[in-house]
């Protein structure tokens, strides 16, 4: 009953080619850079990556795409300050894109974690993003049926974690991380501070350990925004 991995490399070692991987973060906030870079080092290919964005600059998800490991992105906003990596891969036909409205993306992931195979939302009704999806009228208003989204693995960035995987997050770095933690068969967490069991107040646990499989401490994590401002490139 100890979920601690000794390194990011160990934590991501068994992610196979073709895996579906949710990656937390909204832009650079909450992006688990060290886990993503360990996944690059590890070599898995043909990944389906689920994230709000599609990378920025030449680190993190952008680096994963630049290394040609991503077959398909599921995201809401594949633009950024420096979107060149995704843009070139997309326009060259090297990467598929499934564009999902941001709230629908969050809700589909939440549904995946909560055992809800489908739900109805007003979002995207009457738009091209609803094409081919069932529509139903409730109380006189039209709604689009959306399906749950699950993953084989989730890569999550937390602020604090205990050995059972109870997590807290840091400010707006919370974003998709707690939701994705619920929706993957294997949830892998990098935490800035690994704390003893009992150190997190039971009232303040944001993600209970039931959703977490592996925890690795990365005490001084890189921040994507800062890496990009410094012009970093990985590897």
């Amino acid at each position: 009953m100890d979920k601690i991995s000794r390194s990011a490399a160990e934590a991501v070692a068994d992610i196979p080619d073709g895996a579906t991987v949710m990656i937390g973060g909204f832009g650079g906030s909450g992006a688990p850079i060290e886990l993503i870079h360990a996944l690059i080092d590890q070599g898995a290919r043909d990944l389906i990556v689920i994230n709000n964005n599609a990378g920025n600059g030449h680190v993190g998800i952008a680096a994963l795409i630049e290394q040609k490991r991503v077959a398909r992105m599921i995201c809401s906003f594949p633009r950024s300050a420096d979107p060149v990596v995704f843009k070139e891969a997309y326009l060259a036909g090297e990467i598929e894109l499934e564009l999902v409205p941001q709230g629908t993306l969050a809700e589909r992931i939440r549904a995946g974690g909560a055992g809800i195979p489908a739900f109805y939302t007003p979002t995207s009704f009457g738009t091209e993003l609803a094409e081919g999806k069932p529509v139903e009228v409730f109380d006189g208003r039209s709604y689009v049926q959306e399906r749950w989204l699950k993953a084989d693995f989730a890569l999550i960035k937390a602020e604090e974690a205990d050995p059972h995987g109870n997590l807290t997050f840091r400010m707006a770095a919370r974003n998709f991380n707690p939701v994705m933690a619920t929706a993957a068969a294997v949830t892998i967490v990098q935490t800035t501070r690994l704390v003893p069991l009992g150190a997190i107040d039971p009232e303040q646990v944001v993600t209970p350990g039931i959703f977490v499989d592996r925890v690795v401490e990365i005490a001084e994590p890189a921040q994507e925004e800062e890496l990009n401002r410094a012009g970093a490139v990985y590897p």
């Binding site: 009953m1 939440r110 909560a114 619920t182 039931i210």
Partner: protein, 230 residues
């Protein structure tokens, strides 16, 4: 039922003990109100299960001493519990996201009837009065292993393991394991497979007390529980 068979029957504590032996270290477990709650007492040495209660607490501790209850810290049976290192609180929608989302390893419930295809009836006798379902219909779809603890037969001696449930269903095809006062039975491919039986009871005797065909497991192991729990 003959007095002989009555004397072979396991106590509720023994049934709970037996169920506890199958819970792995680190498993996330929900114990139904009443009899299943006893399972928590019998975790094998060296293993630590983490208990979930559907009213929003994970990894809670034992009951507090009498008179030291905090009635804001209760389980689904509305009994007082305690916090311990690792406890987390969350709201009801998150709690049932854990349940329905398949995050529990084991759910353990009582039963009125279990059918050979895994159908469970445990919430209503269908006889009128005030119906009440609680979380049972969610829990039976929420865990990788859904285990039932039950007497093998009713007080009148009628089988509780049946071909088809006659009482209102809690869930369809949901039960995977059955721990009874006489046997351990698994539901496999729409039928009952006998894994363990109490010593002194023949296969035919057990079959006579069961409302649907039993297939003998390979092997059928003697079901031996601590005598002091009798």
């Amino acid at each position: 039922m003959s007095q002989d068979i009555e004397s072979l029957k396991l106590s509720n504590a023994q049934i709970a003990w037996r169920a506890a032996q199958d819970i792995e270290d680190g498993a996330y477990v929900n114990l139904g109100i009443g009899f299943p709650e006893m399972v928590a007492k019998f975790q094998p040495e060296g293993r630590q299960a983490i208990f979930h209660t559907e009213n929003g607490v994970l990894d809670f501790g034992e009951a507090p001493p009498l008179g030291e209850e905090d009635w804001d810290c209760i389980n689904a049976g509305k009994k007082a519990i305690t916090i311990k290192p690792g406890t987390a609180f969350f709201h009801h929608a998150d709690s049932f996201a854990m349940v329905r989302g398949g995050h529990l390893d084991v759910a353990i419930l009582g039963a009125y009837q279990v059918a050979q295809n895994g159908d469970l009836a445990n919430w209503s006798t269908g006889k009128g009065g005030v119906p009440a379902v609680g979380g049972a219909m969610d829990l039976v779809h929420g865990a990788r292993r859904v285990a039932v603890l039950t007497d093998h037969v009713t007080k009148k001696g009628e089988p509780k393991l049946v071909a088809e449930c006659t009482m209102p269903l809690t869930g369809v095809g949901c039960v995977t394991h059955i721990y009874t006062s006489l046997a351990v039975v698994e539901v496999v491919d729409g039928g009952f497979v006998l894994r363990e039986a109490v010593p002194g009871l023949s296969f035919d005797e057990l079959q006579a007390l069961t409302g649907a065909p039993l297939r003998a497991g390979n092997p059928v192991v003697p079901l031996i529980c601590p005598e002091e729990l009798k």
